[in-house]
């Protein structure tokens, strides 16, 4: 995506603040696949992910004035909105379903081949990074990032001590960053 950008982040933020629909269209076209990917990863269901995507773009449109560049890039901010919205939606849904599926099961379900939506992405080099990331590293990152689990919840899900969660998570993130640097 980085090479196709015609707006800088600053220009995007300004355009959004002035309610420029052209900028918003650009934003949608360039970021909706990533945001939709997040929502789908969190919820595992296309209809629910589509609903979350709607909500997310409304929030971006309405709350752009609250974006603080000192805390991270616009993309990270949008990802966080998407995560929070999707996780909230998941929680209210799980609550309704009375949590039939245990967290461990849903965590392993994410890695079933038919749900591996990321394979359709054209970033082949990047896909290889995922493949080279150890499965347990991906699981721990995904539990935290896509399921919004706390350290305690992760410890319980993976049946590992709380201290180990921190260590493993740290290693997983460092590994991820190292793999990406090699590209």
């Amino acid at each position: 995506m980085g090479t196709t950008l015609t707006y800088t982040e600053v220009e995007l933020v300004q355009g959004l603040s002035t309610r420029d629909e052209k900028v918003f269209t650009y934003l949608y076209d360039h970021y909706s696949p990533a945001l939709y990917g997040v929502a789908l990863k969190v919820l595992g269901e296309e209809a629910a992910a589509g609903d979350v995507l709607q909500e997310v773009f409304v929030k971006i449109w309405r709350n752009i004035d609250r974006y603080d560049p000192s805390k991270g890039r616009l993309f990270t901010w949008m990802l966080n909105i998407t995560r929070n919205t999707a996780i909230d939606s998941l929680r209210s849904k799980n609550h309704k379903l009375d949590q039939k599926v245990t967290d461990v099961n849903s965590a392993s379900l994410m890695y079933e081949p038919q749900l591996a939506v990321h394979l359709s992405v054209d970033h082949l080099g990047l896909s290889k990074v995922i493949e080279r990331l150890q499965k347990d590293q991906r699981i721990i990152i995904d539990l935290a990032y896509f399921k919004g689990h706390t350290q305690e919840e992760i410890a319980k899900s993976l049946e590992i001590p709380l201290g180990t969660v921190k260590t493993r998570m740290r290693n997983a993130i460092i590994q991820l960053r190292t793999l990406l640097k090699q590209l």
Partner: protein, 279 residues
């Protein structure tokens, strides 16, 4: 706080994965604001996470785009009509569930409509009652006016009758009956003459209605000469005592029919009634 210590503490990795505690987040964000190298390190991890997330991108249903934009247009309109949201509220909780806002608006609209219908009914009924009273009031006003005017008429008549009675009953007033002449035997009129005030009154007892261009004229005969006492009206006024001119002396009164407005001297052939003063 040492920036290198922050970087090597592992807090950035946990922050990036989204499992840092509230306290850790605050500390790290403070360090980011203070030390550019910490901020740069966080940014590097965030980019790695962004890249990881982006690997799992999936283009949504093309229909979703039009939904998003129609949703946005609604939101924009809504926002213009509502207060700006509280900027301190957390991002996550700001959005109402979709549809709830419309449900809310719809229920408010329904309540308002119901309220309006009730008011319409109440006010329409009041209007009907009001209109009824207004009609009654107007007809009462009309009848009161007609009663009032009739009453005024009667009052005026009564006053005139009273006046006539006063004249007739006054002992100083002399009554002179004027019987019909040979030519008009059925004609009859009476003069009342107050000798003190010299005022002459006339009462028509029976005279035929004259032609439109003619009028009766009263004469006093003073020392053999006719003196004009004025013309008088017929019609309704014949029921009343009519005030004529004054005369100090008279031996006789007579009425002739003259041209309208009266004549300088009486037309003897047209003398209807005549009466001598007794004594």
């Amino acid at each position: 706080m040492d920036p290198q210590h922050v970087i090597s503490s592992g807090i950035i990795e946990l922050y990036t994965a989204g499992i840092a505690s509230e306290k850790e987040i605050k500390e790290l964000e403070a360090a980011m604001a203070q030390f550019p190298e910490v901020a740069a390190e966080v940014a590097a991890y965030q980019r790695a996470m962004e890249a990881y997330v982006q690997m799992q991108s999936l283009t949504p249903d093309p229909q979703a785009k039009s939904f998003v934009f129609s949703n946005l247009n609604n939101q924009t309109i809504m926002q213009e009509n509502t207060l700006t949201p509280d900027p301190s509220a957390p991002i996550v909780s700001i959005e109402r569930p979709k549809g709830a806002r419309w449900k809310w608006i719809a229920s408010v609209a329904a309540v308002l409509l119901l309220f309006s219908l009730v008011l319409n009914y109440v006010f329409f009924n009041r209007y009907k009652i009001f209109k009824e009273y207004k009609d009654k009031y107007e007809s009462l006003l009309l009848s009161q006016n007609s009663i009032l005017s009739k009453s005024n008429l009667y009052k005026a008549r009564l006053e005139q009758m009273q006046e006539s009675m006063n004249v007739i009953q006054d002992p100083k007033v002399l009554k002179v009956t004027m019987p019909g002449t040979k030519a008009f035997p059925t004609a009859l009129a009476t003069v009342f003459w107050n000798r003190e005030s010299q005022q002459v009154y006339l009462k028509v007892n029976n005279l035929p209605e004259p032609a439109a261009d003619k009028q009766y004229q009263l004469w006093a005969i003073v020392d053999g000469k006719p003196v004009d006492m004025g013309v008088f009206e017929m019609g309704d006024t014949v029921n009343l005592l009519q005030k004529m001119k004054i005369t100090g002396k008279a031996q006789m009164f007579a009425v002739t029919l003259e041209k309208k407005g009266g004549a300088a001297s009486p037309t003897m052939e047209q003398m209807y009634v005549a009466g001598k003063i007794p004594g």
